[in-house]
Symmetry: C2
Subunit: 460 residues, 2 copies
């Protein structure tokens, strides 16, 4: 006998949690599609040679390789032929470069699939997790306007997910770069080192950070450090304030000014797209770790749950597929790491398993000889769009109710001898704790109306 268990670092859910998770995936997909993004799916494995274009480094160490039994027996000197994707960006780059002449640009795609990283096993760290990505990829150029559209998509997704108030925070790498260059810190990796120190403000306090930056390693003047701390402290409250804060930054190098102009245009369009001004702001401390981004950068915070960190991040990049194509393919995109987010929301008590099952009705069975009647009722319910389970064998009615209640099935439909004679069915609504009678033919439409009403009341 082998002990049934999953490998460490994966998230596997019981059905009610899976239903809740699936609803989140569906909401994300629905909103991505609502904004005109097209679906793409790529294979879980890519050729190692294609996937691992950037040599070495942290990322490569975390890659999973795949080998069939045959390949394993043969052995090999170099890397195995296949590797599992560790994000959806590299597969997108490969896809766009491979199909460049068959795609229309700007190419809006969404991709919702699992990715794999050989992380050290640790609570809340996953080796397999969902990413839900959108990107708009242009050929040669891509209007800054898409940076605003991406923000509107994030807003639509998290509004409909209904996991609480959130704020989409904006910054621009050109603005940051211009700012640091103006201070004489021209080297990109040095800028990142400084930002990494600044990032410790909350943990270490302003004094310690100031000491470090003016100390030996960095050797910045007190005045420079003061300007940096002022800069990264910039936060806006509301639309007009965001524009005013940008104004207050004044003028700088071309890069600096371009960053300001881009942020202003994104803010104006986000406003025109109807995103409420309480839900976005400037946050000039946001850098995004990767050197990858070159313009707009986004992070999204759940208000009041800063410990969760950013729940949706991304930005603008200059060239998606330089390893695969000579074409210049600039783009902008974001990613939601849903497995981790789901886990965190559950830890924070913000979500539980689905209140209501995907099964909406259960047809109870009291007497064995009523089965064909039950099946007929179920057939009508299903034809009317109601997800329906039939009790295939008679059990005590109490047990059947208990089952439905535990499973989160809202409606229990009964057709005992009395009801059959009178040509009706009895419906117990476990959510409203009500009971009513209706005819078999009107049953499905009646339940549909009830479900619609609940949905409307919940604002879904």
């Amino acid at each position: 006998m082998i002990k049934p268990r999953t490998p460490p670092g994966v998230m596997e859910l019981l059905p009610r949690d899976q239903i809740a998770f699936q609803r989140m995936l569906d909401t994300i997909r629905r909103n991505y599609e609502r904004f005109g993004f097209l679906p793409v799916e790529t294979p879980v494995f890519e050729l190692s040679e294609v996937l691992l274009t950037k040599s070495g480094g942290e990322t490569e160490r975390q890659v999973y390789f795949a080998q069939s039994t045959g390949a394993l027996e043969k052995g090999n000197d170099g890397l195995p032929e296949l590797a599992l994707r560790f994000d959806l960006t590299v597969p997108l780059a490969r896809y766009v470069a491979e199909h460049e002449h068959e795609l229309a640009f700007p190419f809006r795609r969404y991709q919702i699939q699992r990715v794999y990283r050989g992380e050290r096993a640790q609570r809340g760290r996953f080796r397999e997790f969902y990413q839900c990505d959108i990107d708009v990829v242009g050929k040669d150029a891509l209007s800054i306007r898409f940076d605003a559209e991406i923000l509107a998509v994030i807003h639509a997704v998290f509004s409909e997910l209904g996991i609480g108030d959130f704020t989409i925070q904006l910054n621009n790498r050109k603005l940051m770069r211009g700012f640091f260059e103006g201070l004489g810190i021209a080297d990109g990796s040095r800028q990142m080192d400084v930002l990494r120190e600044v990032d410790k403000l909350d943990k270490r306090g302003a004094d310690l950070v100031r000491d470090t930056l003016t100390g030996e390693g960095f050797g910045l003047s007190a005045e420079t450090v003061g300007r940096i701390l002022d800069f990264v402290a910039v936060r806006s409250i509301g639309h007009q304030d965001a524009l005013a804060q940008l104004q207050r930054l004044g003028q700088g190098s071309d890069t600096f000014n371009q960053g300001i102009a881009e942020l202003r245009e994104v803010l104006e369009l986000v406003h025109a797209l109807g995103v409420p001004e309480s839900d976005y702001c400037l946050n000039l401390s946001i850098a995004r770790g990767l050197d990858y981004y070159t313009g707009t950068v986004y992070e999204t915070q759940l208000d009041g749950y800063q410990q969760i960190g950013s729940i949706c991040s991304g930005g603008r990049y200059d060239d998606l597929a330089s390893h695969y194509s000579k074409s210049k393919l600039p783009g902008v995109g974001i990613s939601i790491g849903l497995t981790r987010l789901f886990w965190q929301l559950r830890e924070a008590g913000l979500i539980a398993g689905a209140d209501e099952s995907s099964v909406q009705a259960m047809v109870a069975l009291m007497e064995d000889n009523q089965l064909t009647e039950s099946l007929d009722i179920a057939r009508k319910l299903r034809a009317g769009g109601i997800n329906t389970e039939v009790q295939m064998e008679p059990k005590k009615l109490g047990k059947q109710f208990q089952y439905a209640s535990r499973a989160g099935i809202r409606f229990v439909v009964l057709a005992g001898e009395d009801e059959l004679k009178r040509g009706v069915v009895t419906v117990k609504d476990l959510a409203r704790e009500q009971q009513f009678e209706t005819t078999r033919d009107q049953l499905a439409s009646t339940l549909r109306v009830e479900l619609e009403q609940t949905r409307a009341l919940a604002g879904r």
Copy 2:
């Protein structure tokens, strides 16, 4: 520069094909949920020790193993720790055994995920492919009634997929076993050998098959072979005929009689579930390769496309998880291999990419200064449930129409200066080749009605 390409043996689709594929997945899932099946997803990899309980054999040779860079460097003597799932049945067995005390039985689950097999590269063979499975798993026992429900689900799925007429073919392993035992062929593997010969009837003709079975290897009498060929030739046309054919088989051993009784009950319930009698039949030649099945077995044929083979198969098994649990867990289930099916349907010219995109409307942009108006129109469309793309930069109108037409976007919404003054928008319906005006506020509901009408006309 690295040539962007996928590994051999995977199916990657361009967006319009992906939309068509996604619609099929959605239809399958919707019908699985309609019948009260609950969603389960399992990790792509399982512990090798857990996954590969059956030692050796064809299946194990085709397994992919996964190793992180660290594990690869360390090397190992035995098998790598992780292996990719090669079907959804073994993960289901592990899942049910692992969560036995948290699940309610009978447990109805659906699972739609990709599986992996190290097949030899060959046209139409895939190393990564979708399986769309449903199973009902009981504890200790499971009513034969579920065998009928499974058939009703298959019927609902393929009716709604709309890929052509189909027939769900039924047999029962008990009936077969009883029949062969009655002929003195008691050994299961010998029965399979005989059936494998019989399977060549179409290719080799009755005479050659008869020669083989009466020849040295098998040594069956001419009379026995005659009875076998008569038995496997049984096909029914319509419900009454199916029952009559069963009647005509007469009586035999207990096993034989039980097989007949089970088939009869399944047929009666399928009828009660409203499945049209033209869509199911008896086919006593169906065995399903695996020794796994013990009762009802199903295969589904697309009428007129026998070369495609069975598009949905499965059956009843006695014990799902004997490797993982002492509990007896009998079940019944089926699987649709959607990747292969999609590929075959495309090869046979039965499906093309989606006629209509998932994007339903495009807001055109003629003048740069009308962008905020466009964004407002798009916002209203999206709020009204219409998937909408906005042209973010003005282009020649002809180009914008060409793009929408090629992309399969049905409605192009125009709001030029004239329309803006009059507070209306012009809609070009590319499907009906019509044009009409409406107000901005009524736009979404107007398009919704149009889409509903089309859907109703198409019977979807």
